[in-house]
Amino acid sequence: MHEQRDENGLISKLARDLVLIERKSFYGSEPERDRLKKMRELIDEISQEIQNDS
């Protein structure tokens, strides 16, 4: 469906990191409110990285 850009495992890594942020909040070690903020920041960062590469 989407252009395949996961050659370097970037999408896999992002998926893993996002789940990790969720896990920390889900299991109560981090405040719920920080979760979405951290996710947004990580997505921004990787999106920027991809655009710089291309």
């Binding site: 896999s12 992002l14 998926a15 299991y27 070690s29 996710m39 997505i43 999106s47 920027q48 655009q51």
Partner: protein, 673 residues
């Protein structure tokens, strides 16, 4: 994880501090705690669950009223539970306080006996040992209260399987990503002056939502189909087990006709495919036939009339004129009559390239002429075979209907009723099959339309740089969503086989050959008797099914302890704490379960009433698995009156488990001597 002890203080029926030291022996790994109903078994189980994760089981009544009544009367405001456990060779203490003060602390016990508090993410630490979404299966009320019984005796185990596979975190991540994606789409609208892109994005979102709904509907239909097919097989087995010779003969006729029908339907499908191939192969011949005849006639006629160049070569004529010499050696001078005659041939001489083309055209047109009869013959033969297959299907369907009518006329109420059920199920299967085809087509169509819109969205020019960044972000989020979803789908597919294997293994251990368990692709399980008839999940059968299922889950969680997946939460190895597991279990199967359960886990804690001839403790003892035994004694401040004193029997000795005229009401934990 091995539980060393639990200490409850002012928690529900337990006034003051009460401690149970569990058996930590590797072989004799089972601790039994006996208690009358309503005295505190569920309270103790919930104390452990609450201490770990701050949550109670669904069966725990009045969860806001936990402080012991006597303690409250004496002015106490808080209750506490302390768990002492070992994990990976290290000792830990978890202490949770509730009531006026909420407090949760985890300590590591050092080699010298001192404790060090784990201040960084204690909840995460506890969840890494036994995740809260899995804890309810290890610390369970034993009767499968989390299993939802659906119609026709099927139990959906999808939720619990997802819990044990650790789906929850990944699913919540998907929810969050969807939220973030919506936010980005909203922001994108601001930069999209002509609303062209946002209109497309809105439409894509509609397709997305429709896809989700259609996929859910397809899964439901597939599961329904499996259920109907299972039921049909069961009904047909029941009809087949009839002792009537007439029924036998009719069933045998039906089986034969069904096979013929299936073969004819397969043949028809092959012939229809072949028909499409033949049409593709020969349609041009049919269309070109008349045209090619006309063209060949035209070529022949033109050649005759000399409209088409004569068959001598243009190059040869040019060479003769250039060399001024004929092929016979005569000299041909320009201006002579011979030279002029030869020069006039140029207008009629054939260009080799033109001749070549003409030959090709003739050969192609001749091929059409040759292929036409062959095409006619092959297509006619295919049409004839299709007609014959359809005729056979029709007559076999008639025969099957005839068999069914004759069964319905038999003087056997049970068989008639089963046949009616069979017809109804056949209709349902046909309908569901059609729905599945419709839904599959709809999904293909939706995906196609969505891709077209996505392509259009990509082509939109003139977006501001910021809008392009936002568009790229949406694209990135969707790729991550696909990545996570794909792993979840694959894990769910893989687990079907693993679960079936585990269930078979526990079925064999607990029940021998009396029952079998069927599992649908949608992860619904059903206990069936030897004839494949679903057994209603009530009473003893539900208890055994629950045991088989919970045992399978625990085994799967154990195997997934060191899982390296990055999306799913790893499994757990934890003690199995069962509340009243044997109460509804058939005495015939209880010893088998008692023999196998301690082998399944490193530590087993069973809360039960005395086993009423089910030989649970006897079996555990004879297998060398029983490490420790406790009982709860209920101390009552009031007079005994006419109430009977309850007793339990240990090693042939009766022990009272209710005492009257005590200073206060409370439950006391006693170790069996």
């Amino acid at each position: 994880m091995i539980l060393n002890s639990v200490t409850v203080e002012n928690f529900r029926s337990f006034y003051g501090e009460q401690t149970i030291n569990f058996s930590t022996d590797k072989k004799a790994n089972t601790t039994i705690i006996y208690a009358l109903n309503g005295v505190g078994k569920t309270n103790l189980l919930n104390a452990i669950l609450w201490c770990l994760h701050g949550e109670f089981s669904s069966g725990f009544k009045n969860p806001k009223d936990v402080l012991n009544w006597e303690a409250k009367r004496r002015g106490r405001k808080s209750y506490h539970v302390t768990l002492n456990f070992e994990d990976n060779g290290a000792q830990y203490i978890i202490r949770r306080t509730g009531g006026e003060i909420d407090n949760f602390k985890v300590f590591q016990v050092m080699w010298d006996g001192n404790t060090v508090e784990l201040t960084s993410a204690p909840s995460l630490f506890v969840n890494s040992i036994i995740p809260k979404d899995m804890a309810g299966y290890f610390i369970s009320d034993g009767e499968g209260s989390d299993l939802v019984v659906e119609r026709d005796g099927y139990i959906s185990v999808k939720r619990s399987i997802r819990d044990i596979l650790g789906f929850n975190v990944a699913e919540k991540t998907l929810d969050d990503l969807n939220k973030i994606k919506s936010e980005v789409r909203q922001e994108l609208k601001k930069f999209d002056k002509d609303s062209e892109l946002s209109t497309l994005e809105d439409r894509i979102q509609v397709f997305d939502e429709s896809l989700v709904k259609t996929r859910v509907s397809l899964t439901e239909n597939k599961s329904l189909l499996e259920t109907y097919e299972d039921q049909l097989a069961s009904v047909e087995r029941q009809i087949g087990s009839s002792s009537s010779a007439v029924v036998d003969q009719l069933i045998s006729q039906r089986e034969k006709a069904s096979k013929t029908l299936k073969a004819a339907e397969t043949k028809l499908a092959t012939l229809e495919t072949k028909k499409v191939g033949l049409i593709r192969e020969y349609s041009w011949v049919a269309f070109a036939y008349n045209l090619s005849n006309e063209a060949l006639d035209f070529i022949d006629e033109s050649e005759l009339k000399g409209k088409i160049p004569a068959p001598f070569n243009l190059q040869l004529v040019k060479d003769i004129l250039e060399r001024e010499e004929c092929i016979c050696g005569s000299c041909i001078q320009p201006g002579t009559e011979a030279f002029d005659k030869i020069q006039s041939l140029i207008g009629k001489a054939a260009d080799p390239e033109l001749l070549n083309r003409l030959q090709k055209a003739r050969s192609r047109l001749t091929a059409v002429k040759t292929l036409a009869p062959q095409a006619k013959e092959r297509i006619e033969e295919n049409f004839k075979e299709v007609r014959e297959a359809r005729k056979l299907i029709h007559s076999t369907q008639q025969e099957l209907e005839d068999v069914s009518s004759r069964i319905l006329e038999l003087d056997d109420e049970k068989i008639r009723s089963l046949e009616k059920q069979r017809i109804a199920l056949k209709n349902k299967i046909r309908e569901t099959d059609r729905s599945i085809t419709r839904l599959t087509d709809k999904i293909d169509e939706l995906i196609k339309s969505k891709h077209q819109l996505e392509d259009q969205a990509k082509k939109i020019k003139g977006l501001s740089p910021r809008a392009k960044v936002l568009k790229a972000k949406i694209d990135l989020i969707e790729q991550v969503e696909e990545k996570i979803s794909a792993e979840l789908i694959q894990s769910e597919k893989d687990i079907h086989k693993i679960l079936a294997k585990k269930i078979d293994s526990f079925l064999e251990k607990y029940l021998r050959q009396d029952y079998r368990v069927s599992i649908t692709s949608d992860l619904k399980i059903c206990l069936q008797d030897r004839n494949g008839k679903p057994v209603p999940p009530s009473g003893g059968q539900a208890a055994i099914l629950s045991f088989i299922y919970i045992s399978s889950l625990i085994a799967i969680a154990r195997e997934r302890r060191d899982l390296e997946s990055t999306i799913l939460t790893p499994g757990a190895i934890a003690p199995l704490v069962f509340d009243a597991p044997f109460s509804k279990l058939d005495p015939k199967y209880a010893p088998n379960v008692a023999r196998e359960l301690p082998k399944l886990v490193d530590q087993l804690i069973v809360l039960m009433y005395q086993d009423d001839g089910k030989d649970v403790s006897q079996t555990l003892r004879s297998e060398g698995k029983l490490g420790k035994e406790y009982y709860f004694c209920e101390e009552i401040a009031g007079e005994q009156g006419n109430v009977e004193i309850h007793t339990l029997t240990f090693n042939g000795k009766e022990v009272p488990v209710t005492k009257y005229n005590c200073p206060i009401d409370r439950v006391v934990v006693m170790e069996v001597e």
